[in-house]
Symmetry: C2
Subunit: 484 residues, 2 copies
């Protein structure tokens, strides 16, 4: 459990190191440090539901719950919508009504901005450890509903009077797997000295952007927070536009020297002047989508979900889909307790893909308004393509969603991002999506269905502040860097 | 019923007049035209529930509903919240899940922008007729769920391909009386010729702003749409700032000459440069309020609402509060059918008040984050003071909300707006709120509770686009004009 682990960490990992420790001279140094952390041995094994400790099915196998009533519940829902081809279905879903905190501390050392990141274990993680935000905490953690110590650094996110809140937004999680789940995504700037605990380190945004090119390295919670950080702010943009005239080949952004940066793409994606749709037009389109599409969900017993069965070791349907399993986590270091919990498993790799294209010389992204059963208000803005079973769709051409074919291996597109990223390991068991950003030639032209719309990166970042983009889109946005 | 009336209007009022008709040389001409409309005689009388036609209580008097299942329902809810002093109560509430359209057509004639407004009867209106938007329609209307003709001009709001959408936003109605009700607020610019039907007329924004100074003249739906129209846009603001250097005493805004305009206040309220809180800081405060406050509502039978009784002619509680009544509408013109319906009645006048103050030379408004039972997502942004029984609070000093005393008759404040405005006459029976904007001296200083925040008018207009302001705040914003 995430909560259990936080308590354990706090109690034993509190080994103060120098404040300036855990910054790295090179990416190799960092990777060595990180690999070294993996040596703490954890094993995760699938177990049948009746071996789960403290988790049980409620009467008539209505839901799968924890005896404390905390953490999360696995429930069944019946979904009706007028969106897409499949307009009625039933499925299991995770219900976790608490709003959590995903927080990153940032500090400027000698003119260079760093972010405090954590090498954190989660049972569903591919490779066990992934790079995580400074803090991942549930409301139970920080409102002290239960006993036990607080997660490290949580105090900075509870009492912000001594620091500066740079970003603080409510953002949602996967509407296909979570029922109306959202977290507070926070970036706090501190100026006082900070003790860097073992398993934490300072990284610059440029370094993190490099790590986002490595498969399954930066966890979903970190990507969620990172997506809210502007690639460059207006001040830097002005600077770039000014320096561009000097044929600059290296550039200082976010206090970090970039070499070989694609100035043209950055300016093009972040410009506000020459976007093809005004903010009012985009809000009108968004309003239209919210009114046009309908979503109705009703809770039903897990045991009655059509086409799904509760087996000894899984709640599952057709092999094409996800399943619910139980796992047991064992650590051979004495720091971490052993525990069991349910997880969502999906052996199929999904695809999250944005198409981008210059329109009137300005880079625009093709955004989809999408209905998913756990959405808080019917639609959320999504990547151009978002699907959970890439290989199945490669083999079944008829079932492909619009624009899928641009993400097949294709000589005619410029691939800027192509990386496997994991879903959150506290709820998902080794689930990966291929995150892909392809840029089409300005000449490529096609009609777009009514629930798609072109936006610049600046427009997307602006709308993101109002919780309009889903985690799938934000994951992909976090990977964008325009640097070679 | 609103719907019935629309059908009747459409069928008989389709008396084409010249396009340029129904523009007026003076406010007197307009008021003569409008008074003349009142001659169509309607009477509205209170009747007992058992005389309601087609409306009935469901078994165990659970809800009060229309036999068609359309229109709206009166239901009971139990409310729990951690906001304010009273944290648990029960009350009746209107449930009308459809998203309606409130739309205004606009057109520029000879360089002057006009808005197409309607003299419209509603049973709950004070003075029967009030100035209304071009279109008020429910989704049943425009999706043709029922038979009958469409409301006049609705086609412009359904097919926008030939016109320009200037504004198109989802906006909520009273969270204290409606359960999660919202409408699409739309302003459409047309360039082609338009037939002006009887009961419709063209008015400039300056003329409408003058009419907003008359008690109970412009209806709530019109105020809701008008609040979304920027007082001046950035282009005009630049123009003002430029001309200010010339000691201008008259000014053309929105294609209309203003005399005696308070340039200083306009520039001050709309400036973006010197506001005391950045957009990110305001979003952080808004996020904090949404996470901090909780709201839980459960439907209960009308007959079981604590401290409320279903009587022959009303559902009522203590005299201090609103009640639900039945009314019968009779018209002596053959155009309009007679009908009966429930309405919400409240003989007490409410207060909606904004405090404004220059901070660092820039006008800021004191905005409240408020929980009301019908809110869609826990909190909405509200005027500084918003209460339903002004006189009761004058007499009961202990129960006054924060900042109430600034709205008592007071020599130390500059009153910019002070007018009685009606709630929507299709659901509310002669309910009025005193809308008051007071400007304090820059020197006046006080601490504000955590659920209050200072914003410039520009920041408020920006957040309004994302459905963050409630109808009470928007009603008051619609009355702001800064002209003498």
């Amino acid at each position: 459990m995430k909560d259990t682990l936080n308590i354990a960490e706090k109690s034993t990992f509190f080994l103060a190191s120098q404040e300036n420790n855990n910054k790295f001279q090179s990416m190799d140094d960092f990777l060595k440090w990180f690999e070294n952390k993996r040596k703490n041995y954890f094993s995760v094994e699938e177990i049948p539901f009746n071996k789960l400790d403290q988790w049980y099915f409620t009467p008539d196998r209505y839901s799968l719950v924890h005896q404390s009533g905390r953490f999360f519940r696995i429930e069944g829902i019946k979904v009706k919508t007028n969106f897409g081809k499949l307009q009625e279905w039933e499925q299991p879903i995770i219900n976790q009504p608490e709003i959590g905190i995903l927080g990153i501390l940032t500090k400027v050392f000698d003119g260079v901005r760093y972010f405090l990141m954590q090498a954190k274990m989660e049972p569903g993680n591919i490779n066990i450890l992934q790079l995580s935000p400074t803090v991942q905490a549930t409301k139970s953690n920080f409102s002290r509903v239960h006993k036990g110590k607080l997660p490290a650094y949580l105090e900075y996110f509870i009492d912000t009077s001594k620091s500066k809140v740079l970003i603080d937004q409510l953002q949602t999680e996967q509407g296909g797997r979570f029922f109306k789940k959202r977290n507070r995504n926070i970036v706090i700037e501190v100026t006082d000295d900070i003790v860097v605990l073992e398993d934490f380190c300072w990284l610059t945004l440029a370094e993190i952007k490099q790590l986002l090119k490595i498969d399954n390295f930066v966890n979903m919670d970190a990507r969620s927070v990172l997506s809210t950080i502007p690639l460059i702010d207006d001040v830097v943009l002005n600077e770039i536009q000014h320096k561009r005239l000097c044929n600059l080949t290296e550039l200082e952004i976010n206090n970090k020297i970039y070499r070989g940066i694609n100035l043209d793409l950055i300016i093009s994606a972040c410009t506000q002047i020459t976007d093809i749709s005004s903010k009012n037009q985009l809000i009108s389109w968004y309003t239209d989508m919210k009114v046009k599409y309908e979503l109705e969900t009703t809770q039903i017993p897990l045991s009655k979900i059509k086409n799904w069965d509760i087996l000894d070791s899984s709640i599952s349907s057709d092999d094409r889909f996800f399943s619910v399993i139980g796992v047991k986590v064992v650590a051979d270091t004495r720091e971490v307790t052993s525990w069991t919990q349910p997880l969502i498993k999906d052996v199929h790799i999904g695809l999250l893909g944005f198409i981008a294209k210059k329109i009137n010389g300005v880079l625009h992204f093709l955004v989809q308004a999408k209905v998913e059963p756990g959405n808080i208000d019917v639609i959320e803005l999504s990547p151009t393509v978002s699907c959970s079973n890439y290989n199945y769709l490669i083999e079944n051409q008829n079932e492909r969603p619009p624009f899928f074919d641009y993400f097949l291996d294709n000589d005619n597109v410029n691939v800027l991002v192509d990386v496997l990223q994991s879903e959150e390991g506290g709820r998902f068991y080794q689930i990966q999506n291929r995150n892909k950003l392809v840029v089409l030639d300005e000449g490529v032209d096609f009609n777009i269905p009514e629930n798609y719309c072109w936006m610049t990166l600046n427009q997307m970042m602006d709308f993101m502040r109002y919780s309009m983009f889903n985690i799938e889109a934000r994951s992909l946005i976090s990977c964008i860097n325009f640097c070679y």
